[in-house]
């Protein structure tokens, strides 16, 4: 009896066939969406946990003046950070003269190396774009330095530019040219380092090469028929057609230059700042503040200042990107 009553109630409460189908569809659609979310969730979680969360927490930490490092606190608590305030930012702008040295070194490097690297890699790409037998071998040779690990190339260059026993001074001596102190003098350390960084221009070169391959031959042929010389064709057709890659290389080049750290560390070891702070790059300053001075709050403030600079520069470049050619109608 009870079962009968229950089945009648259930029948009465059950939605009509149309509604049932809709519910099923909704459920399927939800399952569909959940499935796709599941696919992207590992990446989203990764970004949230390993990029976004550290960024936000580092902004919070940047307002703590003192880092004691004590560990006997509960998990997820702000371990060892004391004295909330704006002291670190005051120190950054008014008290710490090294910050401005680091900015000067970093910006000098960026202003010289980024354009030079763009021009040289473009010229190399132009050469490697020619239809010569065995050109593939040259392409590999130019790209090879990019796949050599930074640590290995750092050690090689350190040996090459060793002021006392390095090959560089031997070459200069054999050419009867005056020897140089390279990385051991405040005057020559940064130029030497800049020259070394051009070693990896193969990375930009490969992008230029792909852009050059996409320049329509019909345009080149038309220009030729119209009597345009090689330089005119280069300036009026090839370069404008490659501006998206130029734009990309410019943005990544500036960001990379302002964040430069690894090559300095591998080349100079613990003495990463070089003679008289000649190689005190901003990122190295952040590292030293965090892991040599154990001043984590101040290191976070320094990192955020760099973030603001990079964001502002990137925004400026994006706002002035009218010179970039994205195709018809752009």
């Amino acid at each position: 009896m009870t079962e009968q009553i229950a089945s009648i109630v259930a029948e009465e409460q059950a939605p009509p066939a149309g509604r049932r189908n809709k519910t099923q569809l909704k459920r399927r659609s939800l399952l569909d969406r959940l499935g796709w979310f599941a696919f992207i969730l590992p990446v989203v979680l990764g970004v949230l946990i390993f990029s976004f969360y550290p960024m936000v927490i580092s902004l919070y930490y940047s307002f703590f003046k003192t880092y004691t490092g004590t560990t006997n606190m509960p998990s997820f608590y702000v371990n060892g950070f004391l004295n909330f305030g704006v002291f670190n930012y005051k120190k950054l702008f008014t008290l710490d003269s090294e910050v401005w040295i680091a900015l000067r070194v970093t910006f000098t490097y960026a202003i010289v190396v980024v354009p030079l690297s763009l021009v040289l890699s473009f010229l190399v790409a132009l050469l490697l774009n020619s239809q010569v037998k065995g050109i593939g071998v040259f392409r590999v040779i130019y790209y090879l330095p990019v796949i050599i690990p930074t640590t290995i190339s750092g050690l090689l260059w350190a040996d090459f530019f060793d002021a006392r026993f390095g090959l560089a001074n031997n070459i200069l001596a054999s050419l009867r040219l005056p020897e140089s102190r390279f990385l051991t003098s405040a005057q020559t350390a940064l130029p030497t380092f800049m020259a070394m960084q051009l070693w990896t221009l193969g990375a930009s070169m490969i992008l230029w090469l792909s852009a050059l391959k996409n320049v329509p031959q019909s345009l080149i042929e038309s220009a030729k028929l119209d009597g345009a010389g090689p330089l005119r064709r280069l300036w009026k057709i090839i370069v404008p057609m490659c501006t998206p890659i130029l734009f990309y290389n410019l943005i990544t080049g500036i960001i990379g230059a302002l964040q430069l750290y690894g090559p300095v560390m591998t080349l100079m070891g613990q003495n990463g700042a070089g003679p008289d702070n000649a190689l005190l790059f901003y990122a190295y300053k952040i590292y030293g503040t965090a892991f040599a001075d154990w001043n984590m709050g101040y290191a976070c403030a320094l990192a955020w200042f760099l973030f603001v600079i990079i964001a502002a520069l990137t925004a400026l470049i994006f706002r002035t990107n009218k010179w970039v050619y994205y195709g018809d109608g752009e």
């Binding site: 569909d32 599941a38 490092g69 006997n72 008289d276 040599a292």
Partner: protein, 458 residues
């Protein structure tokens, strides 16, 4: 197929969430899991435990401790010791991983203790009735916190700076070997005379010795520099309020003398400034002499250098010899403190010390074993397989001086002080600033840190 993939992705997501949640449960375990454990130094040999020991990223350090662990297992067969290499042990502990034993260099003991990651060893020493007088006192002092004077680390070996000299290079230059006898004691003056002799001979050798250098020694390396400065009678560079000693005080005058002696070594062309200094000049045979510690002999042997050793040159009437080593400590978060202490106690025993020092280039910290003429560790040879003057590694131990130039400066202030001091040493030793200028800059830096970070000094 698409549905199958979707289902798989959802299952994967669910599994990830469960695993993530279970992993989160472990946060803080390694750092805080120790809790109170009553001291017990009379453990049952059948005690079962698995210990995690963290050493620096150095295969030598790893093998050394693994060999010692094998010896320990003959006494505690049910204890296994896993040796892990990690260059940043504090971060490793904070990440929640279990650590029982950790390698710590003497200079870091106070800082590590201030971070709360080390276990105080005094209760164990007391319960064990451990006789610390059987060890080189300078090395035992290295294991103490500079402020509280509590023991946190047991030294691994006896290590202090001596002078190595390349016998083949001396022969080629026709320069006699340095000697240390009653008639001609090995003093700083004798050392300078030897440097001059070598420099002259190298200059006479022309292009063959163009880039050679009489002595490899970084004068701005703090502990080496301190050996020179403290020989002039300087005990501490700071006053009681942690500001620099007063200009014009006797300590200031003696400090200046020491710094001048260090700078003159570079100025005279006997050694290289910090920009040109390389720790491999002796190993590659281009430096005639080198300041170094016993473990450096491994590198010299790889370079097949035919070297011998003499003690650190005696400076003035109160000569000092710069000393320092690393050792082992018990992590504060360890859940196996008693068995970890048993391992440390084994390392300090004659058997443990023999394992640590035989064929490794290390000198025992146990005085009796170090002075035993027949001990196995004395079988050290140079890069050409020749005997070396082992006694020079031990002699004049009363001259030992450790890195105590900041006295009982609190641990939090040590990092910035160290940074300023190292900068001062470079500037003055390299001749980029006079001692007075360097002193003024250092004093300003210290005053600023005192003004800006008073909480460091509490």
């Amino acid at each position: 197929m698409r549905k199958l993939l979707q289902k798989l992705a959802i299952i994967l997501l669910a599994v990830s969430c469960v695993m993530g949640a279970s992993a989160c449960d472990g946060f803080g375990g390694g750092g805080n899991g120790g809790g109170y454990q009553p001291v017990d130094v009379a453990l049952d040999p059948n005690t079962e435990a698995h210990l995690i020991a963290v050493v620096d990223v150095d295969s030598f350090e790893k093998k050394l401790l693994e060999d010692a662990a094998k010896g320990f297992q003959t006494h505690f067969p049910n204890v296994s010791i896993e040796v892990i290499q990690n260059g940043d042990v504090i971060s490793y502990i904070r990440s929640g991983d279990q650590v029982d034993i950790m390698s710590v260099i003497g200079e870091n003991v106070s800082f590590f203790a201030s971070q709360g990651v080390l276990t105080e060893l005094d209760p164990y020493l007391e319960a064990q009735e451990f006789d610390t007088s059987k060890y080189f006192p300078s090395m035992m002092d290295l294991g103490k916190d500079t402020v509280s004077k509590k023991q946190y680390m047991m030294p691994r070996d006896y290590s202090r700076i001596v002078l190595f000299y390349n016998k083949d290079l001396f022969d080629r230059l026709n320069v006699s070997y340095p000697v240390d006898t009653e008639e001609s004691p090995w003093t700083w003056e004798a050392f300078l005379a030897k440097c001059e002799e070598i420099k002259t001979a190298m200059a006479a050798g022309g292009a063959d010795y163009k880039n050679y250098v009489p002595v490899e020694g970084s004068m701005s390396y703090d502990i080496l520099n301190w050996g020179i400065v403290s020989s002039y009678g300087v005990d501490c560079l700071l006053k009681d309020d942690f500001t620099l000693v007063d200009k014009g005080s006797p300590t200031y005058a003696n400090w200046q003398k020491g710094m001048t002696a260090a700078r003159d070594l570079i100025k005279s062309g006997y050694s290289l400034d910090s920009d040109n200094y390389s720790p491999s000049h002796f190993q590659t045979g281009v430096a005639a002499m080198a300041f170094g510690v016993a473990p450096a002999m491994q590198g010299f042997n790889l370079g097949q250098i035919n070297y011998d050793v003499i003690s650190f040159p005696a400076i003035g009437n109160t000569p000092k010899a710069p000393s320092g080593t690393s050792g082992y400590a018990i992590a504060n978060g360890s859940g196996n403190k008693n068995i970890a202490w048993a391992f440390l106690n084994y390392l300090m025993s004659e058997e443990g010390q023999t394992v640590l020092t035989t064929g490794t280039g290390l000198v025992p910290v146990l005085t009796a074993l170090a002075e035993d003429k027949n001990a196995a560790w004395r079988g050290m040879k140079n890069g050409k397989g020749n005997d070396i003057n082992i006694d020079a590694l031990l002699s004049y131990s009363e001259r030992d001086v450790i890195a105590d130039w900041f006295g009982n400066l609190p641990a939090l202030a040590r990092s910035p002080y160290k940074g300023f001091y190292n900068n001062f040493l470079k500037l003055v030793c390299d001749g980029k600033k006079s001692f007075e200028q360097g002193y003024t800059l250092l004093a300003q830096n210290i005053d600023q840190i005192k003004r800006d970070y008073p909480e460091y000094f509490v």
